[in-house]
């Protein structure tokens, strides 16, 4: 893939340069019929070593950029690869169909599942159509409607999270964005069917949580999950939005942080250099994780499933209980 300047992060540039060189040699090989395969192998090894080196030293802010990478596969990219079949279902039956929140019935290696998730847009027009992946009340209500449909027919629910935040426009306030998210939290906590959530890219605050109260919460390696975007938090707490890098570190938003804090159950590995360098492999990894957890959860009785889900979230957070006054 010849990298376009626009879509390369600073720390990806040395890798992109090597990719360009490799592509150039390949082109020459084709044109002139020279055998340069040794050169190509050597360069590829260099590149892979460099990838390894760069990615083992990523700062948290680099991961934020990766999670927001313009080339990062979005929800529908995973849907297309993972599911044998997918039929989209629309609308909240109350107000509108939200294009930032999608869902439908799907089959995952023969298993009937319900899928819901946020969808971002790729180009400018598409981004606007998807409202940058920020769902409105009708999106959360559509998601809940589909989850209730899954509950009725005892099908597991797969929630794929990728959103900067819930929509906070005047219209969303008017139609009760808080109520819509709160209702999802409440209904999902007692939904009588297994729910599995994967944070694919940005796990943005209440907007993410609104479809993430699940029996298993998984995160892709370079996804982030945060109570607030680091730049907003820096603006509010430190009155300085340029301190986003420091704030990203302080907020502990990476997949390894979330696992340590007990907020997620597992990390799904990404291909070297991030999901965008090998979308098929990334999607296969997500698919395998989903199958594993769906099959595990299928063995649980509903009462046990709900008890464990309650306990899981009940146990989150820290405090101390002192005996002195």
């Amino acid at each position: 893939m010849p990298p376009s300047e626009w879509n390369v992060l600073d720390f990806e540039k040395p890798i992109a340069d090597l990719d360009t060189q490799i592509a150039e040699i390949r082109r020459l090989t084709m044109e002139r019929g020279e055998d340069r395969s040794d050169d190509i192998i050597a360069l590829e090894q260099d590149r892979d070593r460099l990838l390894q080196e760069i990615f083992s030293n990523l700062k948290t802010w680099d991961r934020v950029l990766l999670a927001r990478h313009p080339k990062r596969p979005y929800t529908l990219d995973y849907v297309r690869i993972m599911f044998d079949d997918y039929t989209e279902l629309s609308g909240d039956r109350l107000f509108a169909d939200d294009h930032a929140m999608i869902g439908g019935i799907a089959t995952l290696e023969g298993r009937q599942v319900m899928f819901v998730g946020q969808q971002k847009g790729r180009d400018l027009k598409d981004r606007q159509y998807r409202n940058f992946g920020s769902a409105k009340p009708e999106g959360y209500r559509k998601a809940l409607r589909l989850m209730k449909l899954a509950e009725k027919f005892k099908r597991p629910v797969i929630c794929l999270v990728d959103t900067p935040a819930a929509d906070c426009s005047v219209g969303s306030e008017e139609r009760g964005i808080s109520e819509a998210i709160a209702r999802n939290l409440m209904e999902m906590s007692t939904l009588e069917t297994p729910v599995i959530c994967v944070v694919l890219g940005e796990g943005g605050s209440g907007g993410a949580l609104g479809i993430a109260v699940a029996d298993r919460v998984l995160m892709l390696e370079h996804a982030v999950y945060s109570v607030i975007p680091p730049e907003s938090c820096a603006a509010i707490l430190w009155r300085d939005p340029t301190k986003q890098k420091e704030m990203a570190e302080a907020l502990k938003i990476t997949s390894t942080d979330a696992l340590k804090l007990g907020v997620i159950d597992d990390i799904i590995p990404e291909p070297p250099g991030g999901a965008h360098r090998n979308v098929d492999l990334a999607a296969r990894n997500v698919k395998n994780a989903l199958i594993k957890h769906i099959d595990e959860l299928a063995k649980l009785k509903t009462t046990k499933l709900l008890d464990e889900r309650y306990k899981k979230f009940r146990g989150m957070g820290v405090y101390q209980e002192s005996t002195e006054e």
């Binding site: 935040a165 306030e173 008017e174 808080s178 709160a182 939290l185 907003s232 957070g317 405090y319």
Partner: protein, 289 residues
């Protein structure tokens, strides 16, 4: 009453002089209404439940003041008073902010929970306090809320909660976000148990609290003029929302859009709660029991 010394001055000049004069008065005697600028005698203001006698502006109340005007005298028993915050992320300046919050609110945390009686009806109660780090919800608020709800389920009690919060406690990172799920899951169990859950929004109720346990009440009341909404002004501004209607994110706006049941002035709150509890089948505690 003799004319104030700034009498005769107009507009800005008058207000400025008024402010200076109030500042010059002995501390704790007078307060100036932030809405209508009326100079209010503190004793009168307290007697009026801290509501401006001229424009009905509702001052924020601390959690204990709220309990005092809501719960029958001598019936309140606090629960889990000794839960305190720790700094799970080692977040910069968090410990200092906790210390400052304690100093300003004289509370251990941003919520007080317990049991008591309202009009002789036994209830479980959770009351937030904005002075402790903006009423933000971290691990302690989440745990105390869930414990009192679980207690209510065990003892068959209705739950009343007065909310005030800027949202999730950012200093606890993703763990504070999870308090939204944790508290709301407890509300789900309360509903399944068939027990009443009454929420009262007070100024301000926003973000992570508004989008979780606050918004799933059987009924939701609000005090007049409270700021109520999902995105705080600064967050919305960061997200590029510019044009906002005049009454945006107020109790009145939420009523107009069908998001709350009723705006209840402070003086009518207790009687309204009693009526609602009675509708829900709650009865006065008999002395025999």
């Amino acid at each position: 009453m003799a004319p104030a010394p700034w009498f005769g001055l107009k507009g800005k000049a008058a207000r400025k002089t008024a402010r200076q004069s109030v500042d010059a008065l002995p501390d704790g005697l007078w307060t100036k209404c932030p809405k209508c600028n009326e100079i209010l005698f503190n004793k009168e203001l307290d007697k009026n439940l801290r509501v401006c006698s001229k424009c009905s502006y509702h001052y924020k109340l601390g959690a204990w003041e709220r309990i005092e005007i809501t719960v029958d005298d001598g019936t309140f028993v606090e629960a889990d008073a000794k839960l305190t915050a720790i700094n799970p992320l080692g977040f910069p300046e968090y410990d200092t902010k906790i210390a400052k919050g304690r100093l300003m609110s004289k509370l251990n945390e941003a919520i007080i929970t317990g049991t008591g009686e309202v009009g002789g009806i036994e209830i479980a109660l959770a009351v937030a306090d904005f002075r402790f780090m903006g009423g933000s919800m971290g691990g302690v608020v989440g745990e105390k809320f869930v414990r009192i709800v679980e207690h209510a389920i065990e003892k068959n009690l209705p739950v009343i909660t007065f909310t005030t919060s800027g949202g999730a406690r950012m200093q606890e990172g993703i763990l504070s976000l999870m308090q939204m799920a944790k508290t709301t899951a407890a509300c789900a169990r309360l509903h399944k148990a068939g027990l009443p859950y009454i929420v009262i929004f007070t100024d301000p109720t926003t973000a992570g609290v508004h989008a979780s346990y606050a918004s799933v009440g059987d009924v939701i009341f609000a005090e007049p003029g409270a700021l109520v909404g999902f995105a705080g002004a600064r967050v919305a501004q960061q997200a590029g929302v510019v044009h906002r209607p005049d009454n945006f994110q107020t109790s009145e706006f939420q009523l107009e859009h069908g998001m709350i049941d009723r705006i209840v002035p402070r003086k009518d709150m207790k009687s309204t709660l009693i009526k609602m509890l009675q509708f829900c089948g709650c009865e006065e505690k008999s002395d025999a029991a």
